[in-house]
């Protein structure tokens, strides 16, 4: 019998090594906050964190960054007046700024086996300096590579024992694509449902992309 449920957060995060690339969804909501707290407690360091934005001074991303465990941040947006902005200015944090659509597509590419792609996004900007560009269909395009995760931390509304997931409204955001792109995909779910309870046409993230699920009721 396939059963991806694990008893607690510690079991969910067991084995995450130093130097891992961690994919973390979330855009206003849909962030796996309990797993993130668990990651800080778990102790892995020298991490590369892939997340939409560097966040503000409060909130889970700030707490993880402030813990000093993140060596490199890959994101689309950093405020100068934030933990990420100040750590970068002080030379304590490596930063890779990626346009948000390119970030999402690089993650999707990793999950889909696409080895590289060209996009006009950012091709005529300083983000393209020193990188490979090529004119395709008359448009200047920039070569982009996938972002593979060692681990993805995912937030779900419902999960069954196969790891089939639903996500609430705009809390879906990066969750389905990050689940596809990591060697180890760990889910925190608000609700546990029986296999078959999620209507098959309404599964947002199929369980084939999911390895471990922990129930976090609220």
């Amino acid at each position: 019998m396939i059963d991806k449920f694990v008893p607690d957060v510690a079991a969910a995060l067991a084995g995450i090594e130093d130097g891992s690339v961690v994919l973390m969804p979330g855009f206003g909501n849909g962030m796996p906050e309990t797993l993130l707290e668990g990651l800080i407690a778990q102790g892995a360091k020298d991490l590369t964190l892939v997340v939409n934005s560097g966040g503000r001074d409060d909130g889970p991303t700030a707490v993880l960054l402030a813990s000093g465990r993140v060596r490199k941040l890959v994101c689309s947006f950093v405020r100068a007046d934030s933990v990420a902005g100040r750590q970068f200015a002080a030379g304590k944090l490596e930063l890779e700024i990626v346009p948000q659509g390119t970030l999402a597509e690089r993650i999707r590419a990793a999950g889909a086996g696409v080895q590289a792609f060209y996009t006009p996004t950012g091709a005529d900007t300083i983000l393209a300096e020193g990188r490979e560009t090529r004119v395709i269909n008359g448009r200047n395009c920039l070569l982009e590579y996938p972002i593979y995760g060692d681990v993805a931390l995912v937030d779900a509304w419902e999960a069954d024992r196969w790891g089939n997931l639903t996500h609430r409204e705009s809390a879906r955001n990066y969750n389905p694509i990050m689940a596809m792109a990591a060697k180890l995909t760990v889910v925190q779910t608000r609700h546990v449902v029986a296999l078959g309870d999620i209507p098959p046409a309404n599964v947002h993230t199929p369980g084939v992309f999911v390895h471990r699920v922990v129930h976090i009721p609220a």
């Binding site: 909501n29 950093v78 948000q100 999402a104 597509e105 879906r172 694509i177």
Partner: protein
């Protein structure tokens, strides 16, 4: 005669006037966010939000907030009947794949060749607010910009011959709505489509670094 610049809501309202029924539209952070408030509900315009919302509706009443439903500015919103949700890669496929009729972005500067600068003030700026702007700028069928014509402090013109800040995209802007004028980007540069009442052509040119053209 004196003139009265539009306030930020006034710019948003001016833009809303020019959005026809049936368009699929993305609104950036800042002045553009306010545009949807000025589109009458009976004019069916579908608003896209980068975090995966198709059919974004107005803010809910305080007792009807859904914590799982926000827009790209992380403000609580509602979903219009007929709306739907997609994941982030599909949401940006909408932006990059040419499916938006219009995107309205804020900016620091726009140049007469349609270049836009809106994410950093210099290459080593510790603020790096790229977000989705580069994707939206290259992908939407039309890019309009909403911004004040001049900077607050020194009154420097944001309407430039060439951008001095790092670019978001090259040659992407079709139209600029400022607090005093509406400018179309055409082959020879900025063409003035509209000005606030009481403003003279000379006064508008004085406030613009780029040369302006009149139809």
């Amino acid at each position: 005669m004196t003139f009265k610049p539009l306030d930020r809501a006034g710019i948003a309202a001016r833009i809303a006037r020019d959005i026809p029924e049936g368009w699929f539209v993305n609104l950036g952070i800042g002045i553009p966010t306010g545009v949807s408030d000025h589109v009458p509900v009976d004019r069916e315009v579908i608003f896209h939000s980068e975090n995966g919302v198709i059919g974004a509706g107005p803010a809910p009443e305080a007792d009807k907030i859904n914590p799982y439903l926000v827009n790209a500015g992380t403000q609580h919103i509602t979903l219009r009947t007929g709306g739907s949700f997609v994941h982030h890669a599909d949401s940006f496929a909408i932006a990059r794949g040419g499916h938006l009729d219009l995107c309205v972005l804020g900016a620091f500067e726009v140049a007469e060749n349609g270049d836009i600068a809106n994410w950093a003030r210099r290459a080593d700026d510790p603020t790096k607010q790229v977000g989705g702007a580069m994707d939206l700028a290259i992908g939407a069928k039309r890019l309009w910009v909403a911004m004040e014509h001049n900077t607050k402090g020194s009154g420097e013109s944001r309407i430039r011959r060439a951008c001095s800040y790092p670019l978001t995209a090259k040659g992407a802007v079709k139209r600029v709505y400022t607090d005093i004028a509406v400018l179309e980007v055409v082959e020879r540069g900025f063409m003035v489509l509209d000005m606030v009442e009481g403003l003279t052509r000379r006064e508008l040119q004085e406030r613009s670094e780029a040369e302006l053209h009149w139809a």
